[in-house]
């Protein structure tokens, strides 16, 4: 489904992703693990088609994802519907005057009936425990609530691939546990879950694969999640724990 070949990405003057080769199959649950500044968020944005590789190529379902390919508006919109990204900073993701409109923004463009849009909006908000907050102004919500609204607005698009950039940030322990179960359920329906995290405690059992990024912006190791996180000496060397 997702294939990166020798991908390098630059930010300012320096490389933030260096020669990445990676393959992710449909329905996989993959965790990107690595220290701060190793390029996890950049990789997420690259996979979402927000940033593009300086060299190398990124294929999604066999199609190259490049700036030029995404100039085809129909293709770009379909791609963005299929690949949902939860930003690390939820503040930047909320731009509508009310929580309800925020979640309905995507479905409303998908030519769904107004009844279906309302159903998706209510379901998404209820799923994330925000059922009563539909009329609130997103800007005035707490950090954790903003995060949940942002996730609800991504889920309302029903994407095939969920990219979650540090989803546990700003959530209380109960919400983290809830999100862990939600990710398991979503993965159980065949959705591909890709998540960057350094909060390893709360994502136990969710992922089948771990990709460890090193401080020099390369992939240091790809392996079964349980095996990788059990290798404490390696994680310590990678500055993850």
């Amino acid at each position: 489904m997702i294939r990166l070949q020798d991908v390098c990405c630059t930010y300012g003057d320096g490389d933030v992703l260096s020669h990445l080769d990676l393959e992710i199959h449909t329905g996989a649950a993959v965790a990107f693990i690595g220290p701060n500044g190793c390029g996890k968020s950049t990789l997420m944005k690259l996979l979402a088609g927000v940033l593009f590789a300086r060299v190398g190529c990124y294929h999604f379902d066999g199609e190259p994802i490049t700036a030029r390919r995404l100039e085809d508006q129909a293709f770009a919109k379909r791609f963005h519907q299929r690949v949902g990204l939860l930003f690390q900073a939820s503040d930047a993701q909320l731009f509508c005057p009310s929580v309800g409109e925020e979640v309905a923004f995507g479905p409303r463009q998908m030519a769904l009936s107004e009844e279906e849009v309302r159903r998706r909006t209510d379901d998404s908000l209820r799923l994330l425990g925000m059922g009563t907050l539909g009329d609130r102004v997103p800007y005035h919500l707490s950090g954790g609530e903003k995060r949940r609204v942002a996730l609800a607005s991504v889920l309302a698009l029903n994407p095939d691939v969920l990219l979650l950039d540090e989803p546990m940030n700003g959530l209380d322990p109960r919400m983290k546990e809830f999100l862990r179960r939600l990710l398991l359920d979503l993965n159980g329906t065949g959705k591909t879950i890709i998540c960057s995290t350094h909060d390893l405690r709360y994502v136990d059992g969710v992922f089948d694969t771990a990709v460890v990024l090193s401080e020099d912006h390369r992939i240091a190791r790809i392996g079964p999640y349980g095996e990788v996180v059990a290798d404490e000496a390696f994680l310590r060397e990678m500055n993850v724990v």
Partner: protein, 266 residues
């Protein structure tokens, strides 16, 4: 329990719509932010002259070029500017010309009706003045760090409040640009079909950005205060003028004399 629609794959193909404005805005913002992130080019010549002398000479140059009414004088000033520019590394020459070029082009467009009615001489004269003035300022900006520049401005008795506003603005614009970029990218990512109300989404971005900008400005100022900033910019000790400052000063004096030799349009 997941709702039924979330458990099945979406069979959706988007209707045609035009989002060129959003894409162009994102690309332009990315370009501006990339410029801001670029490390300033430094070379060994930069430390040869005093920042205050450089600032005074640049301001003096801009003043002389602005008041000049003789094309001959502007030609001489242009030659002097080219000599200084030629001593810089190639990438800095390109950077200076990139800064001066668009301003000159904009001026040329504004002056086009006048050029069509009264001939091209005066508009070309004005465009040359704009190129020289913006070029000189861009050159000082690229050869002098902001800390040295604010120190030089303080030495010239520029009010601390003015420098504070400028300082916060320079640091803040990059931060706000990053937030604006993320917001526009969020709109782009969720614009997955025909959006009949694009202006509302962009209005939402503008509104959120305004609220966020106020918060950011307060946080930025608080961060500066926490690191000992009191609103005072200290003058950086006595002037340390050298041979290169003397050459710059002599060049400016020669230009000032030339202004009196060619006082008006021949």
């Amino acid at each position: 329990m997941l709702p039924s629609w979330l458990q099945r794959a979406e069979t959706y193909w988007p209707a045609r719509d035009r989002d060129g404005f959003l894409d162009r805005t994102i690309r332009a913002l990315l370009h501006v932010l990339a410029l801001g992130r670029r490390r300033p080019l430094r070379c060994r010549h930069d430390r040869l002259s005093d920042p205050t002398c450089r600032l005074v000479c640049a301001l003096g140059f801009v003043l002389l070029v602005s008041v000049a009414r003789s094309p001959s004088f502007v030609a001489v000033a242009g030659a002097a500017f080219l000599v200084v520019l030629a001593l810089q590394p190639a990438s800095r020459i390109a950077e200076t010309l990139r800064a001066a070029g668009p301003t000159a082009a904009f001026t040329a467009v504004i002056l086009l009706p006048y050029a069509l009615s009264a001939g091209p001489v005066r508009p070309v004269f004005l465009v040359l003045k704009v190129i020289l003035s913006t070029g000189a300022v861009a050159l000082v900006g690229s050869t002098t760090e902001w800390a040295s520049l604010s120190g030089a401005a303080r030495r010239l008795r520029v009010p601390a409040l003015f420098l504070t506003v400028l300082d916060v603005f320079i640091r803040f614009v990059a931060l706000l640009g990053e937030v604006a970029l993320e917001m526009l990218q969020a709109v782009r990512l969720r614009s997955v079909g025909r959006n009949r109300n694009k202006s509302a989404a962009l209005g939402g971005v503008a509104g959120s950005l305004y609220l966020r900008s106020r918060e950011l400005a307060e946080e930025l100022h608080a961060a500066m205060v926490c690191r000992g900033f009191t609103g005072e910019y200290h003058s950086p000790g006595p002037l340390a003028l050298g041979r290169h400052d003397a050459i710059l000063g002599a060049g400016l004096a020669a230009l000032a004399i030339a202004l009196f030799v060619w006082p008006s349009v021949p």
